[in-house]
């Protein structure tokens, strides 16, 4: 049994100025297992991985790796690789403009000459062996995200790794791609590679993982066999409290949108330069609706068109029954529309600026160039929302890039709440954040709706949308293919709507 252990970490501690990131954390990885590392944002998962891969030096504790008779100190990511620890991150860190083969071999060995033929031959071998649908000479950017992810994994595996760390590899993949990735993981598992799997998707944990280690606030909560730990218990272990919240949510949704009122927002024949087919859309006061469909089905493009984020090519827009022109985000904001973008890092945060500046930004823009808030006003706004949403930050002066993903998302949410919107569009507000914050955000959405704010809520997790939305718009191939309400809003029905249209097209 003892021999099966490929990696063990004992009493790992790591302190950052003012924060105890890790306190006596334990982690054990056995040969040929998929081990989930779970915890809310800020629980210390990333820190633990970074300590293991030599990005941060540990303050104390022991790391033991099979085959080495003494404790190891991992000095750098390079060092980790030499020890057989490879990491594949959420964002793909390969070079998209090189070929698959080049990506597999770049930066390995000290060769001065490259034998292209043998490199491609070797790559083809690996690709076939792992059943990855890519060609060696193909440019990486021509592959789908999932395949790129797999190439990154193949590269790691080929470097003789004993421990493979997958940090949120599935967050930008669709269901089909996730399935492909999982079969690759099973293949690696059967070869005896120990896999550390970090994800926010509970279903995936239960589908593929053998064991689960839970961290909370930088502390070790426990290690469990997946089959012995029901989901509800896992969630309560991660949050540190019993979870009735989610079931409580269900009941609150009962608030039905009052029909017959003039819609808060209505669009007729709206389309944007981003290839959306012209669509009609309306939303009533206090209604929560959702756009659903596969990744790339055009749901984000549609809400971006509503907000004027891309160039509008046609359409008529009415706000509260009056004709208005929305050509750019500022127009939309002036008509009481807020938009939380899908990609927080790329479109949302202004990373070098403080949490305060990030929160007041939208309202400041609406107020105008010549009317800046005084520092005291800005501070009051920021402090109010930091408290209201429970944003974890050292102060409102802290650069937003130092916050964890969930707290960044809350700050961006605060930015839009501060503008007091009548219609708020939330595009994937819960992506890549921990379960506690997810529930917080869903509760907030329902609370807003009760207060009369109309909300469009988009999420890749259908359960979340079923829980919060009272109407779902289903999209496929950049056009609306159906609308589901009340009884019809079930997972099966949504799938059917997406697929049914597919069958007709085929």
């Amino acid at each position: 049994m003892q021999n099966d252990i490929v990696l063990s970490m004992r009493n790992i501690c790591k302190t950052f100025p003012g924060v105890r990131a890790l306190q006596n954390v334990e982690f054990t990885l056995r040969k040929g297992e998929v081990h989930a590392l779970m915890g809310e944002n800020g629980a210390g998962k990333s820190t633990l991985v970074k300590v293991l891969t030599g990005v941060f030096p540990k303050d104390s504790g022991q790391i033991h790796i099979a085959g080495i008779n003494k404790d190891v100190t991992v000095k750098s990511p390079q060092d980790a690789q030499n020890l057989g620890i490879s990491t594949v991150y959420q964002e793909i860190t390969l070079c998209p403009n090189l070929t698959v083969a080049e990506n597999m071999f770049i930066g390995r060995g000290n060769y001065k000459f490259v034998n292209w033929r043998s490199m491609e031959k070797r790559t083809t071998e690996i690709l076939t062996k792992l059943d990855i649908p890519a060609r060696a000479a193909q440019q990486l950017s021509a592959c789908s995200l999932a395949v790129q992810q797999m190439v990154a994994i193949a590269r790691a595996v080929d470097m003789d790794c004993k421990v493979l760390i997958l940090d949120e590899p599935t967050s930008s993949l669709d269901e089909h791609e996730v399935e492909k990735l999982f079969s690759l993981m099973r293949e690696l598992k059967s070869r005896g590679v120990g896999i550390i799997f970090i994800t926010h998707f509970l279903e995936q944990v239960y589908e593929i993982c053998d064991r689960i280690t839970v961290l909370r606030n930088g502390e070790f909560v426990g290690e469990y066999e997946t089959k012995d730990l029901p989901r509800v218990q896992l969630i309560s272990k991660m949050m540190g409290k019993e979870l009735d919240d989610i079931s409580a949510l269900q009941n609150r949704k009962a608030v039905k949108a009052k029909s017959d009122n003039t819609p808060v927002y209505e669009a007729i024949g709206l389309s944007s330069a981003e290839n959306t087919k012209a669509f009609d859309f309306k939303i009533n006061k206090g209604e929560v609706n959702g756009f659903t469909g596969l990744l790339g089905s055009g749901r984000s493009e549609s809400v971006r068109a509503i907000f004027g984020a891309d160039k509008i090519t046609s359409g008529r827009v009415m706000v509260n029954g009056k004709n208005v022109k929305i050509k750019n985000p500022k127009d939309a904001m002036m008509h009481g529309i807020g938009y939380l973008p899908e990609d927080r890092k790329r479109d949302g945060i202004v990373e070098d600026l403080s949490v305060r500046e990030n929160i007041i930004l939208a309202l400041q823009v609406m107020k105008g160039f010549f009317k800046p808030f005084s520092k005291a006003e800005a501070e009051a706004f920021a402090d109010k929302y930091i408290k209201l949403l429970g944003i974890k930050t050292a102060s409102s002066d802290t650069p937003i890039k130092q916050l964890s993903g969930g707290n960044q998302q809350k700050a961006i949410l605060a930015r839009w709440l501060l503008t007091n919107p009548k219609y708020l569009i939330l595009d994937e507000p819960t992506r890549g954040i921990d379960i506690g914050t997810k529930v917080d955000i869903q509760k907030l959405v329902l609370k807003l709706a009760e207060d009369g704010v109309s909300v469009t809520f988009i999420s890749s997790e259908i359960e979340e949308m079923l829980r919060t939305c009272s109407r779902l718009i289903v999209m496929r191939d950049r056009k609306i293919v159906g609308e589901l309400k009340g009884e019809d809003m079930t997972q099966a029905k949504i799938m059917h709507t997406i697929a049914g249209e597919a069958a007709q097209n085929g």
Partner: protein
């Protein structure tokens, strides 16, 4: 107090202030009287302040003004305007050509300044439009005016180097009778105060930085990104006009070949020495102004050490390499670690 020290040592102004401090100390060791200020009577019969420190601040006036504009352009567009010297030649030529052939009075000078401001803003907008609307890299966009600017000035001047003389111009480039501080210093201080007020009473600073840090996010928050970038070039245009006029008034003639030659490189350098990233985003104008003073102090020091003027640039380069390396992230990180070690020790002793 410890906290204040920690905050200060993490600030981007540490290196520039430290460099300035070293320059001062070096000069004091070399010559105790280096910074003494004397009261003398100059050629025009004015009682004025004189001394190296005055000539450093005076000489840095144009550079400091340009560095402010350059900082804004850098922040918003992630690039630099390399045409400021050439644009200043045009601005100066316009100024002189309005003044020539008329009786020079204060309203005429103001009119000439206004004309040269407008011309400089037009050329700034030309650069700005290329960058903001056509998304051309700033250095490439401004390369056009960099090459053509001095030729345009030549054309405005009709190929000559016309002179203008008037006590009023001397008052702008030198001293106002009865006032002992050089006028360029006063103009520079007024401009710094003006910019400070603009930053305080508008969102120029916030919007510029947001555009520089994350343009996509800026757009989605309703900021007109193209206008913000254009605005930075317009402000730099005003800076160009002011420094062009100061320089013309200083020497009483316009020589399109030599006026503010190579100043663009010094201005960019001032921005960098001030601890601002040339990759745009967050900025600190105080840093850039200090950067301008460092460059000028260095020049004056070297001249005082009788370094031949052709060799000055080489010596300057050495010092600047040192400053840039010290403020590089790698050295900074090391210095911060060292600081934490040094700050930790005394507290430990106190605990014991």
């Amino acid at each position: 107090m410890d906290k204040g020290l920690k905050k200060f040592s993490g600030s981007q102004l540490v290196v520039p202030l430290f460099a300035l401090f070293l320059l001062i100390v070096f000069n004091l060791i070399r010559d105790v009287g280096f910074f003494s200020i004397n009261i003398i009577t100059n050629n025009d019969g004015n009682t004025v302040l004189s001394g190296n420190i005055i000539s450093i601040i005076n000489g840095a006036s144009e550079l400091a003004i340009l560095a402010i504009g350059m900082t804004l352009v850098t922040s918003a567009t992630k690039g630099q305007d390399i045409s400021v010297g050439a644009a200043a030649a045009i601005a100066g030529s316009v100024f002189v050509s309005v003044l020539r052939g008329t009786q020079i009075t204060l309203p005429i000078i103001l009119g000439a300044f206004l004309a040269c401001c407008i011309v400089a803003i037009i050329f700034g907008s030309f650069n700005g439009t290329l960058v903001a609307a056509f998304k051309i890299q700033p250095m490439i966009a401004t390369l056009i005016l960099f090459s053509a600017g001095r030729s345009i000035a030549y054309w405005i001047n009709g190929g000559a180097t016309p002179t203008v003389s008037s006590p009023l111009l001397v008052a702008i480039g030198g001293f106002i009778p009865g006032f002992p501080i050089p006028t360029p210093i006063i103009i520079m201080i007024m401009f710094v105060v003006l910019i400070w007020l603009v930053l305080k009473f508008t969102n120029l600073g916030l919007f510029t930085q947001v555009v520089g840090i994350n343009e996509k996010s800026a757009r989605l928050n309703g900021i007109n990104t193209a206008w913000t970038k254009l605005l930075s070039f317009i402000i730099l245009g005003v800076c160009v006009a002011i420094s062009g006029v100061i320089n013309v008034c200083r020497i009483g003639l316009i020589n399109h070949e030599t006026i503010l030659i190579d100043i663009e490189m010094d201005a960019i350098l001032a921005v960098a020495i001030g601890g601002n990233s040339l990759g745009g985003g967050k900025f600190n104008l105080t840093g850039s102004v200090i950067g301008a003073f460092i460059i000028q102090a260095l020049t004056v020091t070297l001249y005082a050490m009788k370094v031949p003027s052709t060799a000055v640039k080489a010596y300057k380069a050495i010092v600047i390499i040192a400053i840039v390396i010290i403020s590089s992230p790698i050295v900074k990180e090391y210095a911060l670690q060292l600081r934490d070690k040094l700050l930790k020790k005394p507290t430990k002793i106190m605990e014991n």
